[in-house]
């Protein structure tokens, strides 16, 4: 009797569960399987199971290690440092700014965010290239120019990601700062705490959870950035801006090594979860 009732109760959610299993669980399981085979896009009649070979190849592959390193640089520079601090700074400054300034700055930042990734990529390609806007500006200031996409590709794409993604952090922090009760800040002000001290001792501890959430979200977003870098540099020159998603694309679709590419994708997933674990711990500890 009880069984039948539970069954009936489970019915309404079952379509959703079936869809999840089919369209989410299925492909993920299939991917995990492919990562242990030597499946190719072309040039092979049948694939076979190769165990951990793909993973062994990855860790012995200089290009892979280079991509891991660049992914870390890209994530730390553009997400953790760039987007995060700039977003917080903008949110803090805008709290004090007049309404027109707030609307204008917010409008510009959010525009960068809503632009499609590829469009943003082309804009920044035009900004950094040799005949681009940045060099025109530098020339006007009588400063030396260079082809930024060629000399400092990973920093150029990191800057592009900061430009594009800061809006998200800014919005998160604007909401968080808005929830700090005015009395607390005012009390601190009365006690003689300056701006920096208020920031350090009151604001930051109070928005700690938002910081953790924000860091987690922007890290995961940044780890999977592909279009922006592809449009600006294609991972070049000489692999100097080839992050893991680009490396994965090249192995899977250009060299047609789907099995190996998928193994790299799984490793990227591991990198993402490592970051997540760190942030989750950050969220849990009490001050």
């Amino acid at each position: 009797m009880r069984n039948a009732r539970s069954l009936i109760r489970a019915l309404p959610v079952s379509p959703a569960v079936v869809l999840l299993v089919l369209f989410l669980g299925g492909p993920i399981a299939y991917c995990a399987w492919i990562a242990f085979t030597d499946l190719q896009l072309t040039g092979q009649a049948e694939e076979s199971f190769v165990g951990f070979d793909n993973f062994r190849t990855a860790f012995g592959d200089e290009a892979f290690l280079n991509a891991v390193w660049l992914t870390l640089v890209f994530t730390v520079v553009s997400a953790l440092v760039g987007q995060n601090t700039l977003g917080l700074a903008l949110a803090a400054l805008m709290q004090r700014a007049s309404k027109p300034v707030r609307t204008l700055v917010g409008g510009i930042v959010v525009t960068a965010w809503v632009l499609p990734e590829v469009v943003a990529g082309f804009l920044l390609y035009a900004f950094f290239r040799r005949e681009g806007t940045l060099n025109t500006l530098l020339e006007w200031l009588h400063l030396p120019t260079q082809n930024w996409l060629f000399t400092l590709p990973i920093l150029a794409v990191s800057f592009a990601n900061v430009w594009r993604g800061t809006a998200f952090s800014m919005l998160v922090y604007t909401a968080a700062l808005g929830e700090i009760p005015k009395e607390i800040t005012e009390a601190a002000e009365v006690d003689g705490a300056g701006g920096w001290r208020r920031m350090w001792h009151i604001t930051l501890p109070m928005i700690r959870r938002s910081i953790g959430t924000n860091l987690m979200l922007i890290t995961l977003q940044t780890l999977s950035v592909f279009g922006l870098i592809w449009v600006m540099t294609r991972g070049g020159p000489g692999g100097r801006s080839q992050t893991l998603p680009l490396f994965m694309y090249e192995e899977a679709f250009q060299k047609s090594m789907i099995g190996y590419g998928t193994a790299v994708a799984l490793l990227l997933l591991v990198v993402g979860s490592l970051f997540s674990v760190v942030y989750l711990r950050l969220l849990r500890t009490e001050v």
Partner: protein, 458 residues
Amino acid sequence: MPVRPTASLPTLLAVTVVAAGGLTACGGGSGSDPDTVKVSFKQSTDNSIKVMDTYLADIKKQFEKANPGKKVEFVPIKAPDSEYYTKLQQMLRSPKTAPDLVYEDTFLINSDITSGYLKPLDPYLAQWKDWDQFIDTAKAAAKGEDGKTYGVPDGTDTRGLWFSKDIFDKAGLPADWQPKTWDDVLDAARTIKTKVPGVIPLNVYTGKPVGEAATMQTFEMLLYGTNDGKADPLYDKSAKKWVAGSQGFKDSLEFVETVYKEKLGPDVSDALDPNVMTRVRGEWLPQGKLAIALDGSWLPQDWLAGSGHEWPEWSEELGLAAMPTQNGQAPGKVSMSGGWTWSIPAKAGNPDLAFEFIKTMQTKANAQKWYVANSGIAVRQDVANDPAYIDAQPGIKFFTDLVASTHYRPAYPAYPMVSTAVQEAMEGVTTGDLSVDDAAKAYDEELRSAADDQVIEK
């Protein structure tokens, strides 16, 4: 009362199985409509170039008129070469997405044959008398290792040196320039560099951003001119092994290094820009900013009327020279050939109709129209001998004559990876990140893993 997940599990499983079964069982194939033939081809990424679109639209009209009740549906893929292959291969994997007819680069055809993506055409070809008109080397281009033929070539191409007569004049170089050795080419570039500042002396494609163009238009044009002209310097056909550690390989890399180290080529950052091919044809050559270009026979299709950047004067302003062998050894000149073929996917729904479409495309008149339209080199004897074809465009005779000293790539399944390894080595010496020796060593290592150790030291 909480719902126990175990209670509903059997139901869920049952529903899942039924749903999954339904999904996989409904692969109807591209031939769901037996009267429509679906044709996939590579559409130019340059919107102003409609050569193929125009030609195919004309064939479609002829085909639909000659076969009442039948329809042609185009499935164009608009992408750069390397992404076109990827997209096509994904489509060929499943009967739901496989078109009835595809445009295959001979670069990848063997790879796709090995994968079982294509259908052997021998039964069709046996009953098609026009097939006898195709020259033997072209027939071989679409042959699998099993000896069966998997595609009908629609032309080939050759490669050589294009040069600006105007810049040559300013540099004091002859208008009938024909270098005898690599050094002659480099010396001409050096002369231009000193005497005509502000122009790019010599363009050779390099690095991964341009993909196969770097391997074939530059590297193999050099490599196949390094040895005696008989043995294949990339793949030993008798031993069925890839060649590693050859001096010719290093010499070819050194040529590329010299071009970029001595700043005889475009700025390295321009050379590694993925759009450099478009710039060479659309900007640098027509605007007189580039003196010598090592490039393919098809360039004039970008300059035809209606292309968006017409340049009918090119035949007066540009000279043509064959690429010399390294030290002028016999046969004195070198060229590489490739080209594309029309193939029928193994999972095509309407293969018979698809072959009818090939036949319409490959009547003598239509084939000739196509060679002229895309600046292709004829693979049909009857067209090659037709004065109307030879005179249709300046340069056609020059490039058709190169067919005698041309080479085809060893397009075996490992080739795409070997090609990428070549591009990486080239990019290394172009940027100056790697010395020639280190780049060659890195290539040898990549080669071993790409070719499953089927490698021979030379």
